[in-house]
């Protein structure tokens, strides 16, 4: 028994070292720096009390959550479609859908401005149609649009890989039992894709929480945590506050992802 335990510890060592070096130690360091400023540990309290910080935390999580949901819906539908229907140009289209991965956030921000900015396409069209110019590039909506754009590639590839493994016989069995196409989606396809949705959604959410380039390009009114941290760090030189915000950003993201995984896991267990 003792030997087994020793061996187990030994085998866990690489993961342990990795976990300590890239997660525990940096987080601990951030945590202490966060408490070392003029206001001491009150920096952490400020995040929840100061409306500027709190609202940026909420809008960061909100945009990330909305991005995740929108991306999963779009990628789920198109991923299954692209997997199921092979048409001429299918491969080219899939390749095209994946190439936003290559763009830096700045380019994506620039594209959002071209589309929904003051001189953007949407602005021109709406002005011609209604007389009012619709401009939303410089707000959270613009940011949301950019995030969805660069989240789709990762998600769609995961969904397509999972859709390939769906057993078409399951859908046929459900239909033979009287399930309408919509019920088949609900009872067979979505449960079948759930693991893919969870892992792709987690990556999508975490990326959207931390993305900086796009927000930085759109700038102005956008108040998301990475921007606030940047401002505190470079412009105000309030290193303690930047560290505290970073720590909270990391911790909150981790908690949300852990909760999502647990919820998903328990529904799987409950259903099974």
């Amino acid at each position: 028994m003792r030997r087994d335990v020793q061996r187990l510890i030994f085998l866990l060592l690489p993961a342990g070292i990795f976990f300590a070096a890239f997660f525990l130690l940096p987080m601990a360091r951030l945590f202490f720096i966060g408490g070392s400023g003029k206001t001491g540990w009150a920096a952490y309290a400020a995040i929840l009390i100061d409306s500027h910080y709190l609202s940026s935390l909420i809008s960061t999580l909100g945009v990330a959550a909305a991005t995740t949901v929108a991306t999963l819906i779009i990628s789920g539908i198109s991923g299954v479609f692209l997997q199921r229907h092979k048409f001429p140009g299918n491969a080219a289209l899939v390749a095209m859908l994946t190439f936003p991965l290559a763009f830096p956030g700045v380019v994506i921000g620039f594209m959002v401005i071209m589309l929904a900015g003051r001189q953007g396409l949407i602005g021109q069209v709406t002005q011609a149609l209604t007389g009012d110019k619709l401009v939303f590039a410089y707000t959270l909506s613009g940011l949301f649009m950019g995030y969805v754009y660069f989240s789709i590639p990762r998600t769609i590839l995961t969904v397509m890989a999972a859709a390939e493994k769906l057993d078409p016989k399951l859908e046929e069995a459900a239909r033979s039992l009287g399930a309408s196409p919509w019920r088949v989606v609900l009872d067979v396809i979505i449960p079948g894709l759930k693991p893919a949705f969870i892992s792709a959604g987690a990556i999508c959410f975490a990326t959207a929480v931390g993305a900086f380039g796009t927000a930085f390009t759109l700038a102005a009114k956008i108040n998301v945590l990475p921007m606030v941290i940047y401002t505190e760090f470079t412009l105000s030189a309030n290193i303690a506050m930047a560290a505290a915000l970073s720590f909270v950003l990391g911790a909150v993201t981790w908690i949300v992802l852990a909760l999502a995984r647990t919820a998903a896991g328990s529904t799987v267990a409950a259903a099974g």
């Binding site: 399951l170 069995a173 009287g178 799987v268």
Partner: protein
């Protein structure tokens, strides 16, 4: 046992199927399936048997001009979800996100049956398939045989008009296959439901089918009762696909068929017969002092307990397969004399 409504009569009229890539999976097929009968589609893979089943199910539409009739009503363009047919697949196709009971009750849930009735029906199905203990199990905790019982229960729970089974036993091991075959047989008899069963296994087809449809290259080779198919095969393909068939080549003259191994008296021999076919059980190993019969040499002998399976060299391309219940021992190289029951002789 369980109330299935009046059994369904199914008719196919000119049902052909050509796939998008141009392959012809099924030549135009006319077939009447009687209410309450078990019909087996039998043939090698790619013969069109599964395509036919899928056309009946509503998973495929026949090419233009083909018609599927349920009790005389045209259902050709009715999708499967509105046909009320139960399906059982080779891969079981159970929903992994539901329990055993959830799977069995799924069709009833879709039909918005009240919860109490679903529970009662599921309990009835579980009892019928003798899997009551498994009700709350997850699908991945079941063995193959248990899974197929659940799949059967799920298909029957909704009281389908017909039951369609696509190679339901193929994924199981031999012993389980025999057990489940018996269970399916008694299930189909007790339900009195119209059943369509697809298989490439002739033993399954013979055991289960009221009638067998033997298929080859998208065409029906023969339709008939198992006994007819076995004893009076219509084509060479049927003769060789079902059971074991021996072949002798030679000439016929004055009621005697002559081949390399000797002469065979056969009064009804058609004059043109240059090749005769017969089953292993129609050959008898003659006592050594009998003068008549064919000469042969034992090429291989397999003692199977109740009988011995012999391969006898008679100067033909393939040795004859002989089943002998004689209590003697056979060795490689033994000279034997064979007599053949003329009633078992076929010319195709």
């Amino acid at each position: 046992m369980t109330d299935i409504g009046k059994p369904l009569a199914i008719a196919l009229q000119g049902c052909a199927k050509t796939f998008a890539d141009g392959t012809r999976a099924l030549e135009p097929l006319d077939l009447a399936i009687h209410a309450g009968e078990t019909i087996v589609f039998l043939g090698p893979s790619g013969c069109g048997k599964t395509t036919t089943l899928r056309i009946i199910a509503g998973l495929e539409e026949p090419d233009a001009g083909g018609k599927v009739l349920f009790d005389g009503v045209d259902v050709t363009h009715l999708p499967i979800e509105q046909r009320n047919v139960g399906m059982v697949f080779q891969s079981y196709a159970l929903f992994p996100n539901m329990t055993v009971a959830g799977n069995i009750g799924y069709g009833l849930k879709i039909r918005k049956t009240p919860d109490g009735q679903i529970r009662a029906r599921v309990a009835e199905m579980l009892a019928m398939m003798q899997i009551t203990k498994l009700a709350d199990r997850r699908i991945d905790q079941l063995s193959g045989g248990q899974r197929q019982r659940v799949a059967l229960a799920r298909a029957i729970a909704v009281r389908p008009r017909a039951l369609l089974l696509d190679e339901p036993l193929t994924a199981l091991d031999a012993k389980l296959r025999d057990t489940l075959r018996l269970e399916i047989d008694s299930l189909l008899r007790s339900l009195g439901i119209t059943a369509i069963y697809v298989t490439h296994d002739q033993a399954e087809a013979m055991a289960l089918g009221d009638r067998i449809v033997v298929m080859e290259h998208g065409r029906v080779a023969q339709i008939g009762k198992p006994r007819e198919i076995y004893q009076r095969p219509a084509t060479r393909f049927v003769a060789e696909f079902i059971g074991t068939m021996n072949r002798l080549t030679g000439t016929t003259q004055n009621g005697v068929f002559s081949c390399r191994a000797g002469d065979l008296a056969w009064n009804e021999a058609p004059g043109h017969a240059t090749e005769i076919l017969f089953r292993p059980e129609d050959i008898r190993i003659a006592e050594s002092d009998e003068a008549s019969g064919l000469h042969g040499k034992v090429a291989a002998a397999f003692f199977l307990g109740d009988r011995t399976r012999l391969f006898v060299e008679v100067g033909e391309a393939r040795p004859l397969v002989v089943e002998s219940t004689a209590r003697r021992e056979f060795n490689h190289g033994d000279a034997v004399r064979l007599s053949i029951d003329p009633r078992g002789l076929l010319v195709l």
